[in-house]
């Protein structure tokens, strides 16, 4: 099935077409389950004025944080950006804009973007700064705010296994935002640990069907851990 073979062999191909001003939806939670090589390719390409949608913004020298050094990010939509001193500095200097979004709302906004649902109501954030300027509606006597969906020119995600058709399986909690991000990109690129042949993944155990994935590249991951915490 030539038309369904999503595998590319270079990062240049994987991120081909990205341009200044694009919105990039990125999977990952903290440094867990992030498309390391795709982020590095965006750094290499020096694409500017990006809007990045991701739960976090990496750390200074790893993950999305590496895009801060050359001021490639204009705006970030995230739930938590507290791990990154350079980010803080750029925020104070007005170089970068941030739209803080509750984590569950962010996940749902990505899902809605992929699912053709332009808006949904949630109680999350009602009565807080998050609700400012948003429509409020009561259901069964409780107030909810209207949140709108998010889509982007690109989604960059990290999976464990992919087949050539782009069907994906995620490993443990490295799943996180990746499945929703995958649905919300006009072009979705998956960086994966292993590429298998179609048929090797059990159909009902596929987390992301290949219809959402445009390109698959086999990556080589450092998998840095933010907080190694152990017991005896």
């Amino acid at each position: 099935m030539a038309g369904f073979d999503k595998v590319v062999t270079s990062y240049a191909e994987a991120m081909d077409g990205i341009k200044d001003g694009d919105t990039i939806i990125a999977g990952g939670f903290g440094l867990c389950g992030i498309p390391e090589g795709l982020i590095n390719e965006i750094k290499r390409k020096k694409t500017k004025e990006l809007t990045v949608v991701s739960n976090n913004c990496g750390v200074d020298d790893f993950g999305l944080g590496v895009l801060l050094h050359d001021r490639q990010i204009k705006k970030i939509i995230a739930s938590y950006v507290g791990e990154n001193a350079l980010f803080e500095q750029q925020l104070l200097d007005g170089i970068i804009d941030v739209e803080l979004t509750p984590q569950g709302t962010l996940a749902e906004k990505m899902r809605a973007g992929g699912a053709g649902i332009p808006g949904f109501y949630t109680a999350t954030g009602y009565g807080t700064p998050v609700a400012e300027g948003k429509e409020v509606k009561e259901f069964d006597g409780r107030p909810y705010i209207l949140e709108e969906s998010i889509t982007g020119e690109f989604a960059i995600i990290k999976a464990w296994k992919a087949d050539r058709y782009g069907n994906l399986v995620f490993r443990h909690t490295a799943m996180n935002f990746n499945p929703m991000a995958a649905t919300a990109g006009k072009i979705t690129v998956a960086e994966v640990e292993e590429i298998v042949e179609p048929g090797e993944l059990e159909p009902s155990q596929i987390h992301t069907p290949g219809i959402y994935v445009n390109r698959v590249i086999k990556g080589d991951f450092e998998k840095r851990i933010e907080r190694v915490t152990t017991r005896k």
Partner: protein, 219 residues
């Protein structure tokens, strides 16, 4: 005497019931897992997508792909389920988690909570806290009753940007256990050796004291 962090966690753990699904925030709430009462089993939900969080891994179990919402390496308990972030917050927002325990900067007598932002200091973001307080059936806040400078954290109205409104039902501080209802804090228990007067003096919001206030009991 004011409770230690561990004692606060021990007291919160008395609120657990067998079969509870529980989300524990960062800090003191995390310690609650160490004091689950005998004969009771709870399952811990971690909002990055894990139901059935196990203990921290041993050195050789450490896996970068297995972390909790605090970004610490963890293990999955037997019978755990792992899912994506949208499904995780569907679980939270939909009210399926029985109890959420989290810290706060301030709580007020309306049950409002401020826990995520101090203006002019660094804005780190709310993470999942706003979803948790909007979705949980039952929320317990743990914090010190007053700041280091002696300023009460139990207020008539929160002064900091809110995390959620009308949501906090119970507060366990280093001095007392309080219920929040009908626009007031209701004193339920005091820490061993702490006087009702001290609690009154350190509670800025409306406080209802009904007769004798029993001391917390620790087994």
């Amino acid at each position: 005497m004011a409770l230690s962090r561990e004692q606060v966690a021990m007291r919160v753990a008395q609120e657990l019931q067998d079969g509870y699904y529980v989300n524990l925030g960062i800090g003191i709430p995390t310690l609650v897992a160490n004091f689950v009462p005998e004969g009771i089993e709870v399952m811990l939900q971690s909002e990055n997508g894990l139901l059935g969080m196990g203990p921290y891994p041993t050195d050789d179990q450490v896996d970068a792909d297995m972390i909790n919402a605090g970004k610490e390496t963890v293990t999955a308990a037997t019978g755990a389920a792992i899912f994506n972030s949208a499904d995780s917050f569907a679980m939270i927002r939909g009210g399926h988690v029985d109890l959420t325990v989290l810290g706060a900067f301030e709580v007020d007598q309306q049950g409002n909570i401020a826990s995520w932002m101090i203006p002019k200091k660094l804005i780190k973001g709310m993470g999942g806290a706003m979803d948790l307080v909007a979705g949980a059936q039952n929320i317990i806040v743990t914090m010190t009753h007053a700041s280091k400078h002696g300023d009460s954290k139990l207020l008539e109205a929160c002064t900091l940007p809110l995390t959620g409104v009308n949501c906090v039902k119970k507060i366990v501080t280093d001095l007392a256990v309080l219920e929040v209802k009908d626009g007031a804090f209701h004193l339920l228990e005091r820490a061993p050796g702490v006087s009702v007067d001290e609690i009154i003096s350190k509670t800025a919001g409306k406080l209802i004291v009904n007769g004798d206030t029993p001391q917390m009991q620790f087994a």
